[in-house]
Symmetry: none
DNA sequence: CATGAATGAGTATTCATTCAT
DNA sequence: AATGAATGAATACTCATTCAT
């Protein structure tokens, strides 16, 4: 045991193994990126924030762009698994969506930085970074789309096709719906962050109240007719 | 006819009156900002794009930040008036929303750059610029909120208050709904831009099909109950 | 006439037109590059040496590599025209070579930096720069080769071809000879720079004494036979 | 047989004795230096190329500069001994030179990297390294000079001094001649490397054909007289 | 009204070098 | 004998902004 356990000068945590350091770096980077945006964030700032010299940052993460991409990746994985692990596939689609959204709003409340970096920062960057982000967003949308498609199929099974006409949603529309849900959830998440906290279930219920009540009939073939 | 007609070199359009020049500058700026993001866009780039020297840019618009703010302002005004002028207040809220959304999707399809700058770029910027943007975005949301509040009041009038309990949306929820609509519209607008064009009415109907079918009962007090 | 002609604080020569500034920059760059080598030379250093800020340097010359290439180009042109304008084509090849070499050694003595940058620095750099240099060097060698080929043709005219065998130099060998001359001249130029000055004619005569005395018979077909 | 034979991973050759490791390091260093030049070469690169950690590199060779010096030393020794061991002092100077040059061209063909580092890289470096190099290069030139001086003495012995005037080469000129030879040989070596291989004797003969035919009379007092 | 010339203050990135193990 | 972890100090390059004309 070290003799200076009783705490003297701020002991610099040194000789940290690589895997751990990389996580520290990503933590700091997500924080800074979410605060100032990709371009405004400086590598100096990030390096200082994780108490490491810039060369280490570059040695481990390669470049600013790669660092940003790594952040995106990590946060996207987190968010997707939060959503996915909440949506028990044995439940019906509406219930799954509700639980998924609850998990999502819970995650965003707790990791607002992750969310900001992933959705707001990410979409605003020009050419180089945009693709990593689009890809990540796409995964989220895909997860939701899958959910909806199952709902559509089930609803279609129940639908009468006596007249041979099926006014229910097609493949493309499921995608559009997913976009609506994700966009709405994003926007609502931002609103909650701004207006003050509320339990994630509450936020999820808000969204479901608007979306699902319309979505469910839509899955059965109803349309808005001006 | 100009006296120097005999000179064959590409005559630079000179001596343009201020008001016009400013518009040219804003046009270029919106284009560049939307393409590369606020930080990545350079004043050199913008100056070149509107064929004006940088000193003129600064003389007329003050600074990069002010220039960005001016862009935001102009585009926000455009979009709000597009939305507002479509929503004839004599119609019922659903119809208004439908027409407003149609106008909105039409505008975004034609001026995608305006929308990108206003909605995506704007949210991503750090401290200095954020306020201008939040304000502008707020105006859009406010317009929608106003619409919804009217719908709520009307619906409330029809609602029976026998039991004294009103499960209909309160003031805050109207704002949440507006967020949902704007977020969903944004997301859908992006999707349409990516997937290929379709008539704005069609996109608006998509959104209404999902949102309004649920929104309308919600206005009357229905809730999603898990 | 300006009123402060009597010299006060070191008046910064400002507002210099572009063409002139570019020359100043090249002057400084050649000086620094020749002194420290391509990599060791820093743009800061060069900027300071020509009393201009770095942004100007980059605005006008593009990048370190382009700047170096521009130096190479300018100095190569100078040296080639010095050599070429001295070698009056109406004279016989030996005399031309002598005059060309005299001009060359004179040039090198006066512009040692040009020479160093062109020959010594240039050859030592890795991939990116090497080609500009090789090209420049090639031009010099080509000029000499042309000279020699004329000599060869003339000598061949005088040669007896009774036995049908021509042991005189072929095309390839003229190139080899040119390499020898240029290499020797280069080396000798370096030696003169190190050992102290002597009139260029003297150096040229040294080289001719060694080279031409052997070259001339060689042009006529003589060979060293071990 | 090693006891850990059962382990299939590529076993890093460890515990190599110092002397051998140093040679491996020098091998790698010469390769890298010749490829990229002194400054552009990085210690990381070199360390990786000889599969050793940087601390070892520093422990054994001291610093980048010392490492470069060590390269220069080793390669200079190699080349000088190649030249020297070929030039049997019992032969006459012309023959010695021919054999020396043959050995030289042979060496360069086989160890082009050694030569590049020694001759081209070396001359281009600024202050710190230059001296090591100049010294090494000087040794090569000295070896040639010695040869020539013997030739001069012998020739002088044969020369008539009836008129008391000796137009033969003095000490300084022997050095100049050596420079010419070395420079020409270098240039020719480069040419051969570029144009495709030929037997070293052939290249040596080329050079002798040009140089010696003139050099030999020059040793006897002949001069080029314009 | 209009601009070519000019810069102070950054930013990402790299390198030679050294501990602590 | 050997190395993963770590850094101080440079370096190329860019940008928002301002004079002098």
């Amino acid at each position: 045991m070290r003799s200076d356990t009783r705490e003297g000068a701020p002991v610099k945590a040194k000789r940290v193994p690589r895997a751990q350091r990389e996580q520290q770096m990503l933590d700091a980077a997500v924080r800074i990126f979410s605060r100032s945006g990709y371009h405004a964030a400086s590598m100096d700032e990030i390096a200082e924030a994780c108490d490491v010299s810039k060369p280490m940052l570059y040695l481990y993460l390669g470049s600013k762009e790669e660092l940003f991409a790594a952040c995106i990746r990590r946060e996207a994985d987190r968010i997707i698994s939060a959503f996915a692990s909440a949506a028990d596939p044995s439940l019906d689609p509406g219930e799954q969506l509700f639980r998924g959204l609850t998990a999502f709003f819970g995650f965003v409340a707790e990791h607002r930085e992750s969310w900001i970096v992933l959705y707001q920062q990410a979409r605003a960057q020009g050419e180089p970074v945009v693709e990593d982000v689009t890809a990540a967003r796409h995964e989220v949308v895909t997860a939701v789309t899958a959910l909806l498609r199952r709902g559509i199929r089930e609803a279609a099974g129940e639908r009468t096709r006596a007249d041979g006409e099926d006014t229910g949603p097609d493949r493309g529309e499921a995608a559009a719906m997913a976009q609506v849900i994700v966009g709405a959830a994003d926007s609502l998440a931002g609103w909650v962050l701004d207006t003050g906290p509320e339990p994630p279930e509450e936020t999820a219920r808000r969204l479901m109240s608007i979306i699902w009540i319309g979505l469910e009939p839509r899955l059965r073939g109803a349309r808005y007719e001006g």
